[in-house]
Amino acid sequence: MRWSGEGSVGFASRENRSLPSDGETDGRRLMAAPSLAVDLAPGNPRELVLANPVIAASGCFGYGLEYAEVMDVQRLGAFVSKGITPKPRSGNPMPRITETPAGMLNAIGLQNPGIRGFVKKYPKLWEAWKVPAIVNISAESVEEYAMMARILDEQPGVAGIEVNISCPNIAAGGYCFGWDAVMSADVTRAVRAATTLPLIVKLSPGAVDIVSVALAVEEAGADAVSLINTLVGMAIDVRTRRPVLANATGGLSGPAVKPIALRMVYQVAVAVRIPVVGMGGIMGLNDALEFFFAGANAIQVGTAIFAQPGMLIRLIDDLEDWLRREGVGSVREIVGVALPAGLPTRQAATEADVEIDFAAAVAAG
C-alpha cells in the first residue's frame, strides 16, 4: 500500500486509524478539513485515486456531459459512463422505464454507439477533465470483453474500467456471467490480461452466491468490486393487463433496493481484501453512511440523480460536514465500522501482498 503524496491513500482500516491523515499532525487534524480521498486500485501502478468517494453510477449519468450544465461535474470523485458494447446498439423498444414504489424499473437495452464510436468522441473530451472517467463495458462473450478492454487501455481520458457482468453469456446459452463465479472470473481474467487500467468488476445481485463471485473476481485480478447492479423486476398495467415495459422485465433501482444492496455490500466487504464500491438506492448522506459503515470504500449514486441532480454535490459537502462534526479525520476511518469485531477484515493487506496479487493475476491472465 502506498502512502506517498497528497491524496494517495490506501483502504480504510482499523489498523491505520492512528495514522495522521495526509500530512497533518494528530493535534490539528480535527480542526482541519477531513480527508475524503480514496484509492480504488491500491495494488495497481496506474492507480485510481479519487478526491472524494462519491461516484455517479453507470447508465444514470450519460457520458458526464449531459449533467455539465446543471452541476459541477468536476467536483465528483468520479463518474461511470453508460455501458458500452462491442457493437452499436439502438436499445429496447419503448416503454423502457416505469416508476415503482420508491424505485424504478428500466430496460434501456444498452443503447450506445459501440466501443469504436465511443472512443472517437469521449476520451478526447475527458482528457481535459479533472474528474476521473470510468468506462462501463458489457459484452456477450469473454473475447469481446477483452477486445474492448484492449481498446480502452490506450485511451488517455480513461481512468479505469468497470466491467458489467450482468450480461448474458452467449456461449453458456444466455446464462448471466455475473450469476456464476467461474464465468465471472473468466471475464475478469481476460480483461485483466488485456489492460493494466484499474479494473472494477460490477457484481450482479442475481448471483447465486455473490460472495463467491466477489472472491473469484478478486482472485482473477480485479482491483475493486462494485455492487449492486439492478435487480430484475416487473410491473403490470392493470388496464391493459400487459407488462408496462416493452421488454416485460426490467432492472429495479432506487431506495426500494437499498436494504438488499446494503446486505450484499456487508457480506462482500467481510470477504474480500480489495476495495468495495457500494450502491443501490442511495438518496443522501444517511444512506451513504450506511454503505460506508457496511464496508464500502466509495459509493455510487444512480437513480437519485434523476430526481435531484444537485444531490451529488450536496452529498460530498454533507459528508465532509458530517466527518468534521463527528471529529473524524478521514472517510477511510468509517469504512466497515458496522462489521462485527472478529470477522476477518480485508484491510490488513500490505503493499507487498497487493502487488504480488496483482502480478500473479496478470501472469495468470
Binding site: 449531459e66 446543471v70 436499445g91 424504478m104 434501456i108 438518496m283
Partner: protein, 281 residues
C-alpha cells in the same frame, strides 16, 4: 442498426437567439386557478431573467413530493403553458391523473417546488409562416397556448382547435388572446363539434402554413390519418409535442427515446417537438 449520436448539444439556441440553460431551482406557487374540470393552472415564480428566455414547446420537470418522501420518486414533466417576463413567472396546466399530478394540482399557493428546467427543444415557426393552426387535445393545450402568445406578438394569425371529453374539460376561451379563432370539439357533443378535434382539421389545411399539435396518442393517430388523406405534397408541415415517460430529463438515461428517421433521439433533449413525418410511429 440505427446510427446513434449520443453527444447532445446542450446549448440550445432558442428562437430569439438566447441560449437557454437548464438548472434546478426553487419555485413558489403564486396562484392556483381551477380550470377544465379538475385541472389547475399554477402560476410559479422563476429565477430572475428566465421567463424571457423560455420558448414555446419547452417543459420543466417538477419534483412532486415533499422533502423526505421518496414517492413518487421521479420528477414529472409539464409543458410551459405561459411565461411572463414582466412578473418573472410562468404557468403550468396540470391535470390530476396519477400520484404526481394529483399532488401537484392540489398544492396550495405558497408551496415551494423543486423545478428542473427549462428542458427540451422548441416549436419552430418558419419566419415566412402567416397562418398557424393549433390542434390541442386535453392538457395538450398547454404548450400551444404559449406558442399562440408568441405567434400573435410576432403578428401571425392563429386558429386554435381544441378537443376534450365534454364542455367542462375545454380550455375556456378567456385563456386565449381575443384575436384567436377558437373552435372546439367534444366527445359527447356538449359543446362545438360532436366528435374528434381532428375532424375539424381538414377545412383549415389550405389556410394553414404550419400546424402544431399536442394531445394523447389517439389524437396523433387520427391526425396522421387526416394528414395523409387531406394534405398535398406533405404541406403544411405538422409539428407535434410527444409524451414519453421520463426519468432524467437531460438526455442521460435514454428512457424517453423516440425513433425518428434520423435514429433514436431523446425526447427530453432532442424533443419533445418533432416534425410528425420524421417520427417512426
Amino acid at each position: 442498426m440505427v446510427e446513434l449520436d449520443p453527444i447532445l448539444d446542450m446549448d440550445f439556441v432558442g428562437a430569439g437567439g438566447v441560449v437557454v440553460r437548464a438548472r434546478e431551482f426553487d419555485s413558489r406557487i403564486l396562484a392556483v386557478e381551477p380550470v377544465m374540470g379538475d385541472s389547475a393552472v399554477l402560476t410559479l415564480s422563476l429565477p430572475p431573467g428566465m421567463a424571457g428566455s423560455l420558448r414555446a414547446g419547452q417543459f420543466v420537470d417538477v419534483l412532486c413530493r415533499v422533502e423526505g418522501s421518496y414517492d413518487p420518486l421521479l420528477r414529472r414533466p409539464y409543458s410551459i403553458f405561459r411565461a411572463d417576463p414582466r412578473t418573472e413567472t410562468m404557468q403550468l396546466l396540470v391535470r390530476p391523473y396519477g400520484r404526481g399530478s394529483a399532488w401537484l394540482a392540489s398544492r396550495p399557493a405558497g408551496t415551494i417546488l423543486d423545478v428542473l428546467g427549462p428542458l427540451g427543444n422548441t416549436f419552430q415557426v418558419n419566419p415566412r409562416s402567416r397562418n398557424l393552426l393549433m390542434v390541442a387535445g386535453g392538457v395538450g393545450a398547454a404548450p400551444l397556448v404559449m406558442l399562440t402568445d408568441h405567434a400573435l406578438a410576432d403578428g401571425r394569425n392563429v386558429t386554435y382547435l381544441m378537443g376534450a371529453a365534454d364542455a367542462d374539460a375545454l380550455l375556456p376561451a378567456s385563456y386565449l388572446p381575443s384575436d384567436v379563432e377558437y373552435a372546439v370539439a367534444t366527445d359527447n357533443g356538449s359543446k362545438g363539434h360532436w366528435g374528434f378535434v381532428t375532424d375539424l382539421v381538414p377545412e383549415y389545411l389550405r389556410w394553414a402554413d404550419q400546424v402544431f399539435a399536442c394531445g394523447p396518442e389517439a389524437m396523433f393517430r387520427s391526425l396522421r390519418a387526416v394528414a395523409s388523406a387531406h394534405r398535398l405534397g406533405g404541406k403544411p408541415r405538422i409539428q407535434v409535442s410527444v409524451e414519453r415517460t421520463m426519468a432524467c430529463g437531460l438526455g442521460a438515461c435514454l428512457g424517453c427515446v423516440v425513433e425518428t428517421k434520423h435514429g433514436m433521439q431523446t425526447s427530453c433533449v432532442q424533443g419533445p417537438i418533432y416534425d410528425m413525418d420524421e417520427v417512426v410511429w
